[in-house]
């Protein structure tokens, strides 16, 4: 791999052992990919947190052991200097306030807090959300990023027009210290063009519809780049956040184009960039219904846990849920957790949304989600969620049955204890 003089100097240890180990990982990774060089990045979103039992044995030796082993793949334990790139922490396993409700051991909470203190001083900003683009990290078109979290990656590439591959814990750890990432995949303009056309025969309107469309596209397209035709009404952040998360869960979609809406194509022709279309799919009422059925993994109508906010809710979603729960009480057999980034939670608190949700019997969670933490209220057998991603992962990870539906279907289930959703 071709390295610049500065990269060679870092590799050779002239800028300290941590950067040398980071460069070693980036070179091994770049060569594995077949990349010819690295590219500069000043925007890293990674997973630096220590919040699981498996990390505990390493963390007990010191936080530099965690970073060296898990974020740099280095046997040599290095002192971790300040990050050189703007860097943020994605979602973690523990809600700093609601850990008792999650059933987390106090020793893990202490470990996470100690780790945050260690990382915070070194420039890792503790957004603690899967949606950094909602709380201040909004890369501009063309900006080279090194992001993890599939739902954030697809949003970054498609909606913002910034450039990132799906990075991992080790590559983001190395990128944050060096400001470099392999120049491969979505960093390269030619690799960002559409491959398949998806023609819509029906209107896609609310958030649930966008989730269903995303889940369908991921299933049929896998890792290719869809171009959507006929989406009708203008989507917003909430809808595209759900659409992307769904497409990245059922398949491995990391980029899409909606000509006229997403920034890299004003027309179908521009989206394909002169390349031939590899395949065309039609999405109509039949596909919508079949996708809806696929997302249901429950037969039991009695629901005991409602999960809202995957990807983490926007302030407008918090307002809607608060409004729906105003002056109501959730069913005594049901627990309701609503997830939003900590920064948005503060606004929601100020607006009275948190009070409305709490007074109805719900809990507002930040920093985590049940799929990441693998923690549900004790005894949960049947869940309901407004997230196609959560409906995809939670039954697989935790063995529960799951219902998927609209926000109002889920709130209705919270109030009645029964699932009455339908497409």
């Amino acid at each position: 791999m071709n390295l610049t003089d500065h990269e060679k100097a870092m590799y050779d240890g002239e800028h300290g052992r941590a950067k040398a180990r980071a460069m070693d990982l980036l070179v091994r990774y770049g060569e594995a990919l077949g990349a010819e060089r690295l590219v500069e990045t000043n925007n890293v979103a990674g997973a630096f947190n220590a919040s699981t039992p498996s990390v505990q044995a390493i963390a007990e030796k010191g936080m530099e052991h965690v970073y060296s082993e898990l974020n740099l793949d280095s046997d040599e334990v290095v002192e971790v200097p300040h990050m050189v790139a703007h860097t943020c922490q994605l979602i973690t396993g523990i809600d700093n306030d609601n850990w008792e409700l999650q059933g987390v051991d106090k020793s893990l909470v202490d470990m996470q807090r100690a780790n945050e203190k260690y990382l915070g001083r070194r420039g890792v900003n503790m957004f603690a959300t899967c949606t950094p683009y909602q709380v201040g990290n909004v890369p501009v078109k063309g900006e080279h990023c090194a992001w993890m979290e599939s739902s954030a990656v697809i949003y970054c590439n498609s909606v913002l027009g910034a450039r990132t591959n799906v990075e991992g814990k080790e590559s983001t750890g190395a990128a944050a210290l060096t400001g470099r990432i392999p120049y491969w995949g979505f960093h390269i303009t030619e690799n960002r063009r559409g491959t398949h056309l998806v023609e819509l025969d029906i209107d896609v309107d609310d958030m649930m519809d966008w989730g269903l469309l995303g889940y369908y596209i991921g299933e049929v397209i896998g890792e290719e780049i869809p171009v959507l035709k006929g989406t009708g009404r203008q989507p917003d952040l909430i809808k595209l956040k759900h659409f992307g998360a769904a497409a990245a869960s059922s398949g491995g979609v990391e980029m899409y184009h909606i000509p006229g809406i997403t920034p890299e194509a004003d027309s179908i022709e521009e989206a394909f960039g002169g390349r031939s279309i590899k395949g065309t799919f039609r999405y109509g009422a039949k596909e919508r219904r079949e996708t809806y059925e696929k997302l249901q993994s429950s037969t039991d109508k009695k629901v005991d846990f409602i999960m809202l906010g995957c990807p983490h809710n926007s302030i407008d979603q918090m307002a809607l849920i608060a409004h729906m729960l105003e002056n109501k009480k959730i069913h005594s057999d049901v627990q309701l957790w609503v997830h939003t980034p900590r920064a948005i939670k503060q606004v929601a608190e100020r607006n009275g949304y948190i009070d409305a949700i709490r007074e109805a019997g719900g809990v507002v969670m930040s920093d985590t989600c049940p799929a990441i933490s693998r923690r549900l209220p004790a005894g949960t057998k049947v869940i309901a969620t407004d997230s196609a991603k959560q409906a995809h992962y939670l039954p697989a990870i935790t063995g529960v049955q799951g219902w998927f539906g609209s926000v109002s279907d889920c709130v209705d289930a919270a109030l009645t204890g029964q699932w009455n959703g339908r497409v």
Binding site: R28, A32, L33, A47, S54, S150, G168, K169, G252
Partner: protein, 148 residues
């Protein structure tokens, strides 16, 4: 095994590109389905846990893992990294579809890995075949289980 077979084991050689250096040999475990890291494997046992996966319940620990590649969460590398720390990583990886997840995952699992082979490893190699991966030489040598 047919003991009447007189011929010495005939090996099939595939040629490809090194992803991670090194040499390893062992019994092949072949799946035509991609594997999820986070949410798809148990990192303490090296077992596939994904519902509806054809290898569900099977451990790849110590095997030559032959598969199309990675899918799912960006936690792929972190979970395969943990299999190495727990001593239940595969002995080598042979795969067909390059992505950032599989590249980084193979690197941090630190096992010989190879891709871009001149024949489709998913059809040439079967579970139980004896496979030698020499990533530096860019070769995969397969002795069919019927010949072993």
């Amino acid at each position: 095994m047919d003991i009447s077979t007189e011929a010495k084991p005939e090996a099939i050689e595939l040629r490809g590109r090194k992803v991670v250096a090194g040499r390893a040999e062992g019994e092949a475990l072949v799946t035509t389905e991609t594997i999820s890291g986070w949410g798809g494997i148990n990192e303490r046992t090296g077992t596939v846990i994904e519902r509806r996966h054809e290898m569900r319940g099977v451990s790849f620990a110590g095997k030559i893992l032959v598969f199309p590649g990675a899918k799912g969460s960006s936690g792929w590398s972190a979970y395969f990294h943990m299999t190495r720390l727990n001593g239940v990583q595969p002995a080598a990886m042979i795969f067909t579809r390059m992505t950032t997840k599989i590249a980084l995952g193979a690197v941090v699992t630190r096992v010989p890995a190879i891709t871009e082979l001149d024949q489709d490893p998913l059809s040439v190699i079967e579970t139980g075949d004896w496979v030698v991966v020499d990533a530096d030489a860019g070769t995969v040598t397969v002795t069919k289980k019927s010949r072993r």
